[in-house]
Amino acid sequence: MARFVAFRLCHTVLILFGVSVVAFGLIHLIPGNPLDILLPPEAPKAVVDQLRAEFGFDKPLHVQYLAWVGRVLTGNLGTSVFTGLQVTHELLSALGNTLVLAVPAALLGFTLGTTFGTVAAFNHGRPLDKVFSVIAILGLSMPHYWLGIALVIVFAVLWNALPAAGMGGTGGLPTSWEEIQHMILPVVTLSMIPMGVIGRMVRSTVLEILSHEFPTGLRAKGLRSRQIVFHVLKNAAPPALAVMGLQLGYLLGGSILVETVFNWPGSGQFMNLAIFRRDIPVLQGTVLVLASLFVVINLLVDLVQALIDPRMRR
């Protein structure tokens, strides 16, 4: 196990290095720099050039990269060209807002997905299987920005039952019923994709396991169906966990589309804004942190899988 962990850790470090190069380099492929966007169209070129030098955008790329990596290693992601605020601080607050949606959406999506998938598999070919499969496919393939808008029209505009947009408070964990109400529509919208993905995944894995001989053997041994389900699920868990890790990573990255529809100040919107503003420090920091989170979550999932399934450790 220790060798496996060490191997995966080395892997992770290499990936993170690659991530840092990509995060830094990609942004320089698109035309324009933050100052072009920050300054009004009428800004004289002299003013633009002076600011370019102040922010160091006039230096060669490798010099900029090394300076950046040096700062990042000390935990400093720099300051936003646009707002002058600390990227680390801003990003953490945006990530916090995204977590407020991502964690409930993941729980809801994983629970529903696993339930639907298992029930569908155990009822293979029966109407219940058809119904749950349709739900899973809908969740998977319905554009979630469309679903978001449709939910807003029904629940906010027509029925006035739930708020249409925003967090309702000043961000972070909800502190009132009103703020919880603001969460409902985006959480439901966000949970649809993991629900669909996990649902289909669990259904096919469970079906495959059911085709093995051991469930029949367990039944012959006289185990009750609830116990058989437990054994089947334990075998279906590793691939499902891997997919859940990926899905959680996506959710943490914050869905740009859902956060835009619901005007939710999370990491997706934060990054979207930085792209439009060419806010290089914000963009680099955000891409790096989100990608690293993704990598770390997958590392954790791999380790958990290895714990559950001894075959993985080899």
Binding site: V48, V157, N160, G166, G171, V261
Partner: protein, 532 residues
Amino acid sequence: MTSRTIRGVLAAAFLLSLVASAPSFGQTLRIAMTAADLPTTSGIPNNGGEGYRFLGFPAFDGLIDWDFTHTDEIAGLTPGLATSWKIDDNDHTRWIFTLRDGVKFHDGTDFTADAVIWNLRRLYDEKSPQFDPAASAIVRSFVYMLDRWEQIDPRTIAIHTKTPFSFFPSMVPNILMVSPTQWEKSGRSWTEFAKQPAGTGPFRITRVAPGQFVEMTRNEAYWDKLRIPKLQKMVVIPMPEATTRLAALRSGQVDWIEVPPPDAIPSLKAAGFQISLWPYPHTWPYIFKMTEGSAFSDRRVREALNYAIDRDAIVEFLNGTAKPAYGLYPPDTPYFGAPELRYGYDPEKAKALLKAAGYGSDHPLKVKIMISTSGSGQMLPLPMNEIIQQQVRPIGFDLDFDVVEWGTMLVAKRNPPTAPAGHGVDALNNSLGFADPGVLFRYFSSTTFPPNGINWGNFNDQRVDALLSKAQETFDPAKRTEFLAQAHALVVDEAAWLFVVHDLNPRAMSAKVKGFKPAQSWYQDFTQVTVE
């Protein structure tokens, strides 16, 4: 009746009386802006015109402010923190400002000549401790001609421009004043100051929730008694997505949205919402590249295109949220002048002009236009350009689009039209404003070719140059307007741009919002608004 019951009844009656009288102090106006993020709250807002509209003029004043009271003409100037200003008769680069007495910043400290100078150093003196690079860049982009300043006496200061510049007073509202004491109290940090700023404006910024909203509260002690807000509070919320704004308005989450989607306007009206449409200084053009070799260096081609588009059809597509443009300025403004040509939809004339230039429907003129997917003042760039493309095809224009992201267009605009950033296009579809009388100079003088200005198309006409120089050095407003109007007439007759439409800045608000009288300006007055 037990004493507890009596107390209960009394408490209920008290609560009821509170509810009954609530409108007098419960008035809050909630506005959804189009900006993607909150404009900065430290006195010099970013996010362009919208930033100044919501977090500039409501909370801060300049020495000179915009006058929102005459809504039937382009907003002019009105005394702000200076009661009067004049040019020094002996030195046409020296402006003298008399400061207003008895004004207090929101933190209770006095507005003084020292404060003015401290604010100027914030923006123009890189060595001052309060120098604020971001704010400085925004202000210097417009007020680049400001050179230095001096205090004459405790109530008078002089500001020098680099050259005689008669439009200077129109640039002064960009310089908003904040409290030096509050900056000291904020640990000498503009980031900290922005959390609890203090200006002198009709509203005080009372709560800043980053990324979420800014709450402003009525300043009871505002120096202009006529403009003490009727609202108790105003909350502004960034909401970049048009459909999200629409949903927020229709669900009652906000009372007012900027720029509803044009195709939602009929249904909003039907549902009892108010739609505010009013001209403001904005033009949506194609800026023609006139350097050698460009198809648009031929005046006949430029004129032909101006006769080839059906402006009324575009306005109809926009559900009436724009009006046709026949120049940079609309015909009903004093700056329009008396051009000989009036461009209407005239396909025959357009064909004849184009034929004279050597093109026709059998031998179309291929031109490439840079258009953006979105951006400040760009309206609905994709469908509007597609309409134009269809309209002019039968005439003999084959329009091809170079569709770019807004930032890419801004870069193109700062560079000469022949530079790589221009992507080799023949025209730029970039909307522009005309809020101050100096714009003609910036858009059409031969001294302002990029990178030294924003005459992107390299429009070059000695007659226009001469008139613009005269205007810049004429300090009598009426005479100056005359020169500008003559220059504008030439710009129109030379068909310097394809003049398409002026935006009418649509806003939608709930029926409860009363008393909003839109000014012909990028900025607006919120002090007279009430919410029932």
